[in-house]
């Protein structure tokens, strides 16, 4: 029982971590980034290369992978998204345009990864020793992943709710029309949010790679999971993404353990459906 709780939290923690990035990109920059999961996978491979070729500890590698994700997404925003933002007559049009463009970007990133690493499953062994905790045994790498996810989540929530910079991002997420009257540069906020979302995706990828096998084509799975978490938690809400991510991880683990592993996806979508019927804007969404 406790074992499943811990495993569920580990899985949910990584869902939360990657979904935080997507909810920031979608909620603040108003860009639905379908290549989000491929950024995660690229970060998995980057961490793998740093570890297996350069012998850099994966936890330290996050310090390289995270900022790289930031810069990479800043460039994507600057050269690909900016023209779309400039020409979009409204939010809906930007969403459609960004879906089409990032759908293309998805295949570009995936293609590059396939050329470099092939289509096989990849993994590496890091802290793979069992750790006893709360009367159960967990793999060390999973425990590290959980601690890292929760730490990043706590830091991000702290920044969003305790600093002016965070206030500005939240203002743009909930009231984009009013924000300029407060002296807020919404374009700059959107660019920063997109880059921060990319940094979180990359960090999430680095964390996931510590305990999971991954393939060049698995990006879309991460995008879908993250999207479910974002919608469950409420578009643009980081606390929502954390709660929904953990919830989803627990549901998946418990269904796999007590009912049937084949029903995990069905269970996920059932939770998704029921919650959307009850709260159409998500757990923390605005009415």
């Amino acid at each position: 029982m406790l074992e499943h709780v811990v495993n569920g939290l580990v899985l949910g923690g990584t869902y939360a971590l990657v979904a935080m990035g997507l909810t920031i990109q979608y909620g603040i920059a108003r860009i639905m980034n379908l290549s989000f999961g491929d950024t995660i996978i690229a970060a998995c491979f980057a961490t793998y290369v740093l570890f297996s070729v350069f012998a850099i500890n994966p936890i330290l590698a996050l310090l390289i992978v995270g900022p790289t994700g930031y810069v990479f997404n800043l460039l994507i925003y600057r050269f690909i998204m900016k023209p779309l933002v400039a020409r979009a007559p409204d939010e809906g049009a930007l969403e459609v345009d960004s879906i089409l463009v990032t759908f293309g970007l998805l295949f570009v990133i995936q293609g590059v990864l396939l050329v470099m690493f092939g289509g096989g499953y990849t993994s590496y062994s890091f802290l793979n020793s069992p750790v006893s905790m709360l009367g159960t045994v967990v793999a060390g790498n999973r425990l590290v992943a959980l601690v890292l996810s929760l730490t990043f989540g706590a830091v991000l929530v702290g920044v969003l709710y305790r600093t002016r910079w965070g206030m500005i991002l939240r203002a743009v997420a909930t009231a984009p029309q009013s924000a300029p009257l407060f002296g807020i540069d919404t374009n700059r906020a959107a660019r920063t949010a997109f880059a921060v979302g990319g940094a979180l995706a990359a960090t999430g990828g680095g964390v996931v790679s510590m305990f999971q096998t991954f393939t060049a084509t698995a990006g879309v799975v991460f995008t879908m999971k993250a999207l479910i978490v974002v919608i469950l938690g409420g578009k643009g809400s980081v606390p929502g993404a954390i709660v929904a991510g953990l919830l989803l991880g627990l549901v998946e683990t418990f269904v796999a353990a007590y009912i049937d592993p084949g029903l995990t996806l069905a269970a996920v979508y059932t939770v998704f459906l029921v919650l959307l019927l009850v709260r159409p804007n998500g757990l923390f969404g605005k009415a």
Binding site: R164, M167, I168, R170, A171, T174, A175, Q177, S178, A179, P180, L181, F182, G183, I184, D185, T186, K286
Partner: protein
């Protein structure tokens, strides 16, 4: 001095504001009176930079502001309280106020300005941790004006501050605005509520179909037959 020179705003083919020119000085209260759709809001939006001018210019202290994006206009000392208030409902009173001090010109004096806002609106101090969307219309309007004050404006633009408020609340709001004005801020108010806005303004302009059709001191306008006819129910 804030000068509007031949200000013209078009929405597609529709001419909303047609060559409006007038000016406001610091510490002065000017009201623009007009019916729904006369172009009152468009004038304020054009000055604040949230809609583009199709002709004319906005000049502040000799510097032309035309074409500057809205978020930068605030840093020049112009704050707009739009219709519908433009507050952030899902944030607290204090967060709204602190966010209002985002322009560079307002940062250094943020805490002092906040004390000043709380002095004029003691209710906001009591409710500083309350979420704005849970407050009454009058309280939200206080947040909106307080937020605008936080940017340390020289000119405060108010789009129908009386809209949707109970008469007694409207009276309090205008008294509060009079105190804001005493701090040296110039007020440009657009209103349909003629009586109370003229009582608190120095001068006024009449706006019809995007054009200025009359002007005068508040007293003159109050006694003007056309104003009485159009806005005060035609009684003598």
């Amino acid at each position: 001095m804030l000068e509007l020179k031949n200000l013209t705003v078009r929405y597609g083919k529709h001419l909303a504001v047609d060559g409006v020119s007038f000016s406001v000085t610091k510490g002065e209260a000017v009201v623009v009176l007009g019916a729904n759709g006369a172009g009152k809001s468009s004038i304020l939006k054009a000055v604040a930079g949230t809609v583009a001018l199709s002709d004319g210019s906005v000049v502040l202290g000799g510097e032309t502001l035309t074409g500057i994006p809205a978020h930068k206009v605030t840093n020049h000392g112009i704050a707009l309280v739009p219709e519908g208030r433009g507050v952030i409902g899902r944030m607290t009173v204090e967060e709204n106020l602190r966010l209002g001090a985002t322009p560079q010109r307002a940062r250094a004096s943020e805490d002092d300005t906040m004390a000043q806002v709380f002095e004029i609106f003691p209710r906001l101090k009591e409710r500083r941790s309350q979420f704005v969307h849970t407050m009454s219309g009058g309280e939200q309007q206080m947040v909106a004006v307080g937020r605008a004050m936080m940017s340390k404006p020289d000119y405060l633009l108010l789009d129908e501050p009386s809209l949707g408020l109970a008469p007694i609340v409207v009276g309090d709001m205008f008294k509060a605005l009079a105190r804001v004005r005493e701090t040296g801020v110039g007020l440009l108010i657009v209103e349909q509520n003629v009586r109370i806005s003229l009582r608190h303004a120095d001068r006024g302009y009449l706006l019809e179909a995007g054009r200025i059709t009359g002007s005068g001191t508040s007293e003159e306008l109050m006694n003007d037959a056309a104003v009485r006819q159009a806005f005060l129910g035609g009684d003598t």
